[in-house]
């Protein structure tokens, strides 16, 4: 990025060149933080749906005054200078020619087009966009990818529905299985997947960005969905293998009272949704206080813990099973515990369940009653020798 800025900046300042960015990003606010950190002054567009149908990034393209492509490939200062200074002549473009129309969901020619129109242009259209993408041809890989984007966007919103995050991972996996060369799509899954499959620590830069921005005396852009767990975890390829962590089992007889309401909504997500024998999954278990329950975490009691018992053929290789309490006595934040498990090479195709339970301390605001309760849960691992490889 820095080399592009260096190569283009003099021409932009001279008014001879406009640089615009198109960022492949699920979360627009993360792109805003990135722009603030890097002091990018270009107009930047968000292509969460991969409407540009890119396979990978970065892809710079120089376009002349008529909209004709004149510069492609790696950018050098010389190539940019030649592009800026060369007179390409004028190509007559009729008025209205090659002007992207605003899509109308009522006039959409396909479920995918309808989903795109609703996702992008209807602020209340997220549920309808999901429904539209679900109606697309199951072999329509782009519709599947965009279904995943819409589901993930809904999961990150107050309108989330149970299973949205897992279904997003499933949709992205199905899309990638149909078009395995789409590295934009592959990266979207890898952000939530096992460390062994990750090329880099996707959003680790966020903390560094905040530090730098604060040091400049600015206020960092706030993020609606904080990157957590796998999204900021470093790749493990080449790293020495640590010993498998001890998984707590403080209530083996199941005697603790259950969170029957439940006060805490537990959302497990397994990535990838389909795993080959011999490979790994990463499980992300989110704990979210149900706002209707009007309760808070009791940080003066034992911390949140997760216990899991993998079936034969599945072994825990790393993870965090206890989350230390924050310093303040009460809080209401989203809590995440993640672990990775290896599926033995000899495990046959089929569904496996990883049963478990979580223990946590919560207090209800209404009567001030505090309880240390248990919630049982189950994670599903789908073993499929034909599953797409994430690496």
């Amino acid at each position: 990025m820095a080399s592009w800025q260096g190569a283009t900046e003099p021409h932009v300042k001279a008014g001879k060149l406009v640089v615009i960015g198109v960022v492949q990003e699920q979360h627009a606010d993360r792109a805003r933080l990135y722009r603030q950190w890097k002091r990018l002054e270009w107009p930047i567009f968000i292509d969460a749906l991969n409407l540009r149908d890119l396979d990978a990034v970065p892809v710079p393209v120089g376009v002349d005054e008529s909209g004709i492509v004149r510069l492609t490939g790696a950018l050098s200062a010389d190539a940019v200078r030649e592009f800026v200074e060369k007179d390409f002549g004028k190509t007559a473009v009729p008025a209205g020619q090659n002007v992207a129309p605003k899509p109308d969901p009522k006039a959409a020619k396909s479920p995918r087009d309808r989903g795109d129109a609703l996702f992008l242009h209807d602020p209340e259209g997220l549920d309808a966009a999901v429904e539209a993408y679900e109606k697309a041809d199951p072999q329509d890989a782009r519709a599947l990818f965009r279904l995943g984007v819409a589901l993930r966007a809904r999961y990150d919103s107050p309108g989330r529905r149970p299973g949205d995050a897992q279904r997003a991972v499933e949709a992205w996996g199905a899309a990638l299985a149909l078009q395995p060369n789409k590295y934009i799509w592959r990266r979207r899954i890898q952000q939530f997947g096992p460390r062994l499959d990750k090329p880099y620590d996707f959003f680790f830069w966020v903390e560094e960005a905040r530090r730098d921005i604060l040091a400049r005396g600015e206020k960092p852009v706030e993020l609606a969905a904080e990157p957590m767990g796998s999204e900021i975890a470093p790749p493990s390829k080449g790293a020495p293998q640590a010993a498998a962590p001890a998984v707590p089992d403080p209530d083996p007889a199941g005697k603790l009272i259950r969170d029957k309401r439940p006060i805490v909504v537990v959302e497990p997500v397994v990535t990838p949704a389909r795993v080959r024998p011999g490979e790994r999954i990463r499980a992300r278990v989110a704990f979210r206080l149900d706002p209707l329950a009007k309760a808070h975490w009791n940080n003066e009691a034992d911390p949140l813990s997760l216990s899991v018992k993998p079936p034969a053929g599945v072994s825990i290789v790393e993870g965090t099973f206890t989350l230390p309490n924050p310093a303040k006595a009460e809080s209401d934040e989203l809590r995440i515990l993640e672990f990775e498990a290896a599926v033995d090479a000899g495990v046959p195709a089929g569904k496996l369940s990883i049963p478990g339970y979580a223990l946590y301390a919560v207090c209800e605001d209404k009567d001030g009653v505090c309880r240390y309760v248990r919630q049982d849960l189950s994670l599903t691992v789908v073993v499929d020798p034909k599953a797409v490889k994430l690496q």
Binding site: E65, I68, N98, V99
Partner: protein
């Protein structure tokens, strides 16, 4: 006739699946996308200027 010929010349770049990297000499397909400020914009808004479109990621 001139308009028809021009449309034919432009047609390959306007098909559903364009060459995203952009083949030299072809019209770069316009797009309408949300911008980072919360509005929308098109590449064609910049017609008349030389534009470097940088497709990138923040991860």
């Amino acid at each position: 006739m001139k308009t028809t010929l021009l449309a034919l010349v432009l047609l390959p770049a306007l098909q559903e699946k364009p060459p995203v990297g952009g083949a030299k000499g072809q019209m770069y397909p316009d797009f309408l996308l949300p911008n980072i400020e919360g509005g929308f914009g098109r590449l064609s808004d910049y017609r008349g200027k030389k534009v470097l479109v940088v497709n990138f990621a923040s991860w």
